[in-house]
């Protein structure tokens, strides 16, 4: 069973629908016991980092999450859930969970696309991910596959945590973390077949990790 973290700031139902479609058992929850028993946790998110952090800290979920990550519970952060794993986000000047070193920055409006036009913000639409490292999440996903992005702030983790990059005027980090603790800036639950494959790969990793213990 995958737990979808419920902290009132996410797109939990979209993730739930995608997992249901894949036949993966899941539960939307903020119960620490249920989170601890899950094979893995999906940390979704839309909206603003500041508001999301407030929701997490007011219920003590920040400490619960950090403890589970410390115990190597597999976790997949999505969008704001990806940004919040870093130390700091420029949005609302927010101190975030500090699980992965780095920060999250507003897209620089002076960046321009290949054809010379200045980038529009939010970065909204379909774009590619170029992997810098092997990543189990991307098994069976073709290199030219695209994913759906919608965000105005982008992750900028410490270089060793960069897994994949996307070009929007400049290259920015769109996948970061380490094995078992992954963060993706795009929305796999809204990225058609490649996105569904990524969620399936995460689930398979969780089951393997469970069996290995």
């Amino acid at each position: 069973m995958l737990a979808i973290l419920d902290y009132k700031a996410g797109n939990q139902t979209s993730v739930r629908r995608a997992l249901d479609h894949l036949g993966i058992k899941n539960l939307i929850t903020n119960d620490p016991d249920v989170l601890a028993k899950a094979d893995g946790i999906i940390f979704p998110g839309v909206g603003a980092a500041g508001q999301a952090m407030d929701e997490l800290t007011s219920g003590g979920l920040d400490e619960v999450l950090k403890a589970l990550i410390w115990q190597e519970k597999p976790l997949l952060g999505i969008c704001v859930g990806c940004q919040i794993l870093l130390d700091y986000c420029e949005e609302n000047d927010t101190r975030t969970l500090a699980v992965i070193p780095g920060e999250c920055r507003l897209f620089n409006p002076s960046w321009s696309e290949e054809d010379g036009t200045p980038i529009r913000v939010p970065h909204m639409g379909w774009n590619r991910v170029v992997l810098k490292k092997d990543c189990a999440l991307f098994k069976d996903i073709p290199a030219e596959a695209e994913f759906y992005f919608v965000h105005s702030y982008h992750p900028a983790p410490k270089a060793e945590f960069i897994i994949g990059e996307t070009n929007y005027g400049e290259h920015f980090c769109s996948v970061h973390g380490r094995t078992g603790l992954w963060a993706v800036q795009f929305h796999p639950e809204k990225s058609g077949t490649p996105g569904l494959t990524l969620l399936k790969n995460f689930h398979e990793y969780c089951l393997e990790a469970q069996n290995a213990q």
Partner: protein
């Protein structure tokens, strides 16, 4: 580099897919959920649903359509039509839409844009604009005026000013529909599209007039749009979305080709 998006638009009336010309003479042409799934499988990048139902009973049927779409289609979709309050927005977002489009409701009460952006994030709020060509005047210096109520009522708003106002209030995207071009299949209004795209820094979806893939390629290159809305040419089976994307990609425009 971001791909340009192809977005089929489904008008829904009493739970049925319908299509009109210049907002008139609507005929029912199918089931919106089945049609949306078909477009999803063909490689649509996003889908837009407009509720053109007038009754509250029809509204319930529409929300049911949205929920069924959300459980079968794993690309983003937006919902518009009859959105006048934050509560209306919440209802369609809870039913599973990613984005909600405000149009007449925002002209009457612009604060709905900022309230929606504050409650759900700017990326959720699309400003839908219906625009008609008029003589240039002091009030409408661009010669493009915003109209509401399906094109029947002039608002006195200049389209370029209204686009900037919408951006400043927190809209995350603009869906720009030319009433003059709508349903004609003669191509998008490229002048209008380019002027609005150059006035704002949020993405703009060109709408109204698509008759062939060249029209969409022009909207991206000459009009500078981020996305193109289409309806008749796919609803009546003249082109598949894959054919459209292949023809546009042949001109060097970046399209998402794997799905």
């Amino acid at each position: 580099m971001l791909s340009k998006r192809i977005i089929p638009c489904l008008d829904v009336r009493n739970g049925k897919l319908t299509k009109g010309v210049k907002f008139k003479d609507n005929v029912d042409i199918g089931d919106p959920v089945e049609t949306a799934r078909h477009y999803y499988e063909q490689g649509a990048d996003e889908i837009v649903f407009y509720d053109i139902t007038a009754s509250s009973e029809g509204r319930g049927i529409f929300l049911d359509v949205v929920e069924r779409v959300a459980s079968q289609i794993f690309i983003p979709f937006s919902v518009g039509g009859g959105i006048n309050t934050v509560a209306d927005m919440r209802a369609v977002l809870l039913a599973g839409a990613e984005k909600v489009s405000v149009n007449s409701g925002a002209v009457k009460n612009p604060d709905i844009i900022s309230e929606g952006a504050a409650a759900f994030g700017a990326q959720c709020v699309v400003l839908g604009m219906d625009v008609k060509r008029v003589d240039k005047s002091e009030a409408i210096p661009s010669g493009f005026e915003v109209v509401i109520h399906g094109g029947r009522k002039f608002t006195g708003l200049d389209a370029l000013e209204w686009a900037k106002t919408g951006e400043a209030l927190g809209a995350g995207e603009i869906c720009l529909n030319s009433i003059d071009a709508d349903g004609t299949k003669d191509g998008y209004d490229l002048e209008l599209t380019r002027l609005v795209c150059e006035s704002v820094r949020i993405p703009v979806i060109a709408s109204g007039g698509a008759g062939n893939p060249q029209h969409m390629a022009d909207a991206f290159t000459k009009g500078k749009a981020s996305a193109a809305l289409i309806a008749s040419i796919v609803h009546y089976g003249e082109y598949t979305i894959r054919q459209i994307k292949e023809q546009i990609a042949d001109q060097g425009v970046r399209m998402r080709m794997v799905w």
